[in-house]
Amino acid sequence: MTAAPILAVDDLRAYYATSVFGVAREVRAVDGVSLRIERNEIYGLAGESSCGKSTLIRTIAGAIRPPLRVRSGDIAFTFGDRRLVMQTATQAELSAIRWKHLSYVMQGSMSVLNPVRRVRHSFVDFAYRHIGGAMPEFLDGVRSHLHRLDLAPEVLEAYPHELSGGMRQRIAIALATICRPDFIIADEPTTALDVVVQKSVLVMIRAIQRELGSSLLFVTHDMSVHANLSDRLGIMYAGRLVEEAATAEIFQRPLHPYTAHLVRSLPRIGDATAKRGLEGTPPNLADPPPGCRFHPRCPMAMAVCGQQAPPMEAVAPGHRVACFAVGAAR
């Protein structure tokens, strides 16, 4: 028997529902997404801005507050032999697992760290509750953990503004990993960094993930980062998952036209051929096109694409895609 995946999301629908002067509007930011994340793997989630990837990770992290509502579907974590369903979890259950089992690296490291307190206080606030023990031992543990991320112990006494962007981002990673969590969500943690710093931070994220054996859900729109980091990759478009496979498979044999375009349009050093951008604009999620949401921009669109939404189907072991053209070609 295989163990339950650490995270199972089933047919999740999370909508933003607003009602202004009696006019109800629903933004279907996540619409029918199912995915599984196994232990000790890096799952990459790619997609352009406003495709719903931030909403998806917000629901997964249990930060569901109005106007965001979960309409249907299930988000279930399995930590050891404990199963936790996110929508029904109480505040107390959530704060018991936060940072200890489930942690979060955010995009802006400046907004994670309190700008008027020394970095040491952030570690005490986040992690002391879960680790406990005597304060000097706790701080020793923090120092040895910082050493793992190539940070000097002096940073604990620094204020966030005294540190460079790369150092702050590494501190945010240290905060998220100090309790040795089973599951880490990383939302564009390297997008704001320079290329050289970005690479060293990614090397560090990968090393620490392998060391802890945690699962990592890594979200970015940068396909080059995914090529270098993720084990499996899910591509999101307009609130839906359109393709999912092992990273190498996505880059070598992309099946969905949107994925194929993303992979083809990547500029490379040493390749001087002109790359084409994708025409058209991402759909408005308050009023998405009927059928497949990609069909107005799709070069392979057929009549059926405008009428029905293609289901997510497995075309090979571990390779799922939602496209009628792919099904017809087989």
Partner: protein
């Protein structure tokens, strides 16, 4: 006698002074940078550098927003330091136009986008009445793949980042400039739209004969579209030359480091990817 170059940057430095009376600090943002863009041959000239390398300060000096601490910048033979009164500044702005990094910050969220276009048309392109301004705005929007019908009466939040950046480029085109300075124009734009914006620069160079100074830290798009390139580090130029030659075989240790840090999309499936971190620092 040959004609004066379009833009001549001659041994330009900029020093910022900071600190209090007792602890003066001098930050050399740009140090002894020289290059020239010829008038006859429009090109995409790329400035590469990390944050803090002085590339934005250099752009601001070329736009005559900040004066250089030393050195001379000449546009079509005329020293930028000689721009003193309003008429001369407007004449300069007509020919040298900027495009900024974040289109959501460049436009006032409470102001309709078409008003920016009409204002530019009236001020720099000699449109005397509304119909002339609309004609100019529509023409410029067509160049970037939009039309006035799509933009009229729209507010910035109603357009996507890629569309908004196209409007910013169209606005810069209204006055038929000879030089466009684009400071990180695609770093806030989604990956799928990035190439269409970058390709637009190539089209503008070829069809309108506009030279473009493309400032970026993204080596891959720079390789795809640029003609010449300079790589800046801590205010100085460490390597310059033909874009393809420099990026295919960089010579300066810093350029080599930059190139090695670029994440290749071909690494997917490589078991050794992300094993070795780039060195944290290299000597000057």
């Amino acid at each position: 006698m040959t004609a004066a170059p379009l833009l001549e940057v001659n041994d330009v430095s900029r020093i910022y002074r900071g600190g209090g009376v007792f602890a003066r600090r001098r930050v050399s943002a740009v140090a002894h940078v020289s290059f020239a863009i010829e008038a006859e041959k429009p090109e995409i000239f790329t400035i590469i550098g990390e944050s803090g390398s002085g590339k934005t300060t250099l752009a601001r000096m070329i736009l005559a927003i900040v004066p250089p601490s030393s050195g001379v910048i000449r546009f079509r033979g005329g020293d930028l330091a000689a721009i003193r009164h309003r008429a001369a500044r407007l004449a300069f702005m007509k020919l040298v136009q900027p495009i900024f990094q974040n289109p959501f910050e460049a436009f006032n969220p409470l102001k309709r986008l078409d008003r920016y276009l009409f204002m530019t048309a009236r001020r720099f392109a000699g449109a005397n009445d509304q119909s002339a301004a609309e004609r100019l705005a529509d023409g410029a929007l067509l160049q970037v793949g939009l039309s006035l019908a799509e933009v009229r009466r729209r507010y910035p939040h109603e357009l996507s980042g890629g569309q908004l950046q196209r409007v910013a480029i169209a606005r810069a085109l209204i006055s038929s400039p000879a030089l466009i300075i684009a400071d990180e124009p695609v770093s806030m734009v989604d990956a799928s739209l990035r190439m269409s914006i970058v390709n637009l620069f190539r089209t503008l160079r070829d069809t309108l004969g506009v030279s473009i100074i493309y400032i970026t830290h993204d080596l891959a798009t720079a390789y795809t579209i640029s003609d010449r390139i300079i790589i800046m580090r801590r205010g100085s130029v460490v390597e310059a030359g033909d874009a393809r030659e420099v990026l295919d075989a960089p010579r300066h240790p810093y350029s080599i480091l930059l190139k090695s840090a670029v994440l290749s999309p071909d690494a997917a499936g490589d078991p050794d990817r992300l094993r070795v971190a780039p060195p944290a620092d290299i000597p000057d």
